[in-house]
């Protein structure tokens, strides 16, 4: 049988071994920084893409209205008219693609919440409560000094903290691994569909913009009064603003989506192994920042 004199050191040794093992199971500061940077960029890409789709829909409605005002009935039945002002950016289309972009943003926010240490303060408060409670137990009060009670509180806090960190790493690793194919797929879809000149979003904007440019040009050249030409000028201005979105925003969404896919691979390596490079995650952060900055300049609030 083991006596109390040998049992205590053994327990202490086991606890020490457990602590060392748990310490090795936590995300390093560098890994957390990588996840944090990726999360922030994913949130930016998702949120900005989603809001820009809504802006494109609003622009479509406005441009179709202008074209109808300038030229009357649509010259082709496949183009938008007074019963389909949002032709090309109908609610169901925008909602589906915007929902996918928002899912990317939500992924970024979920990862950020997971690596963000909101538990330390909670653990500290909880262990203080525990020590206070132990101090109120007469037997414990008699046998344990204040210093020993304090040591128990610190141990509970540290073990709890290490357990949290090990679970954090496990959760982040699992989620990054499981989400990887879906994130890759969404990046591919955004890169394909927003590509300037080839993606359907860019083509759709062109279908709305070019006929309006033609009708505005006709009114501008044939208009007999200042007011007529002014109406044409306002339409041209509207197209110009929307074209800026087509050329600048679409390119940046595409670049950011391509960069995100690479960063997603780097992220998976970052959380699973010690040998990884932050280069692709950094590149994604730069593209996401560029997108945000461009939207700030282009979009008139």
């Amino acid at each position: 049988m083991t006596g109390p004199s040998t049992a205590l050191p053994r327990r202490a040794f086991s606890l020490a071994v457990a602590l060392v093992l748990l310490t090795g199971c936590a995300l390093s500061a560098r890994q957390k920084a990588a996840v944090g940077q990726f999360s922030e960029s994913a949130t930016t890409l998702g949120d900005v893409t989603s809001s820009q789709l809504k802006a494109m829909r609003d622009g479509t409605v406005e441009m179709t209205k202008q074209r109808l005002l300038l030229a009357g009935k649509s010259r082709d039945p496949n183009l938008g008219d007074q019963t389909s002002l949002d032709r090309g950016f109908e609610v169901s289309r925008v909602e589906t693609v915007s929902g996918a972009a928002r899912a990317l943003a939500a992924y970024g926010k979920s990862l950020a919440a997971l690596v963000n240490d909101s538990q330390s303060a909670e653990l500290q408060a909880a262990s203080r409560d525990l020590v206070a409670s132990l101090g109120r137990v007469p037997e414990a009060k008699e046998r344990l000094s204040d210093k020993q009670l304090e040591a128990i509180g610190t141990a509970v806090q540290e073990v709890g903290g290490l357990w949290v960190e090990s679970k954090r790493k496990e959760a982040v690793t699992t989620i990054v691994r499981e989400a990887r194919p879906a994130v890759d797929r969404l990046c591919d879809l955004l890169a394909r569909d927003f590509a300037p000149g080839t993606g359907w979003v860019a083509l759709q904007l062109q279908v709305i913009e070019d006929p309006l440019i033609a009708e505005a040009t006709n009114v501008l050249y044939d208009g007999r009064s200042y007011d007529e030409r002014k109406r044409a000028s306002a339409a041209i201005d509207l197209v110009h603003g929307n074209r800026m979105q087509r050329t600048e925003v679409l390119k940046r969404v595409t670049d950011a989506a391509v960069a995100m896919k690479k960063a997603n691979t780097a992220l998976a390596q970052a959380v699973e192994s010690s040998a990884w490079s932050a280069q692709d995650i950094q590149a994604f952060a730069e593209r996401a920042q560029s997108l945000r900055a461009a939207v700030k300049i282009i979009v008139k609030e």
Binding site: D76, N78, L79, R87, G88, R93, T96, V97, G99, A100, A103, L104, A106, Y107, S110, A113, L114, Q119, E122, L123, A126, S127, D129, L130, A132, S133, R136, V137, P138, G160, W163, V164, K167, R168, A171, T174, I175, A179, P181, A182, V183, R185, L186, L189, D193, G197, T198, W200, L203, Q204, Q206, V207, D210, P211, I213, A214, T217, N218, Y221, D222
Partner: protein, 106 residues
């Protein structure tokens, strides 16, 4: 260089729009504007077909990612529960202490 039907129609649309702006007579513009509308209409039909296929791809990928997001939120709740468990333990000790005091007083 244009390679797909969509890209070819897009290039035609770009070219015809440029011609409308540069046209010298009203009749030229009228004819070109009519042709432009037809090309834009054809491009719209092409886009409609493309988008129909794309939307189902978006839905599938979004559903898969939403499942991962739900898992991440659950994992976060589990992490937050550690402190709550310690607090519950402290409350249980308080109750035991109160019970012990009652027993001692009886």
């Amino acid at each position: 260089m244009a390679t797909t039907l969509g890209e070819e129609l897009s290039a035609s649309l770009t070219n015809i729009t440029a011609l409308i702006v540069k046209a010298k007579t009203k009749s030229q513009r009228t004819r070109l504007t009519r042709q432009q509308a037809q090309i834009a209409g054809q491009l719209q039909v092409f886009i409609d077909k493309t988008v129909d296929e794309a939307l189902s791809e978006y839905r599938a990928a979004s559903t898969a990612l939403s499942a991962a997001n739900a898992e991440a939120e659950k994992a976060k709740r589990d992490l937050d529960r550690v402190a709550a468990t310690i607090k519950k333990f402290a409350a249980a000790i308080d109750q035991l202490a109160a019970l012990a005091a009652k027993v001692a007083a009886a």
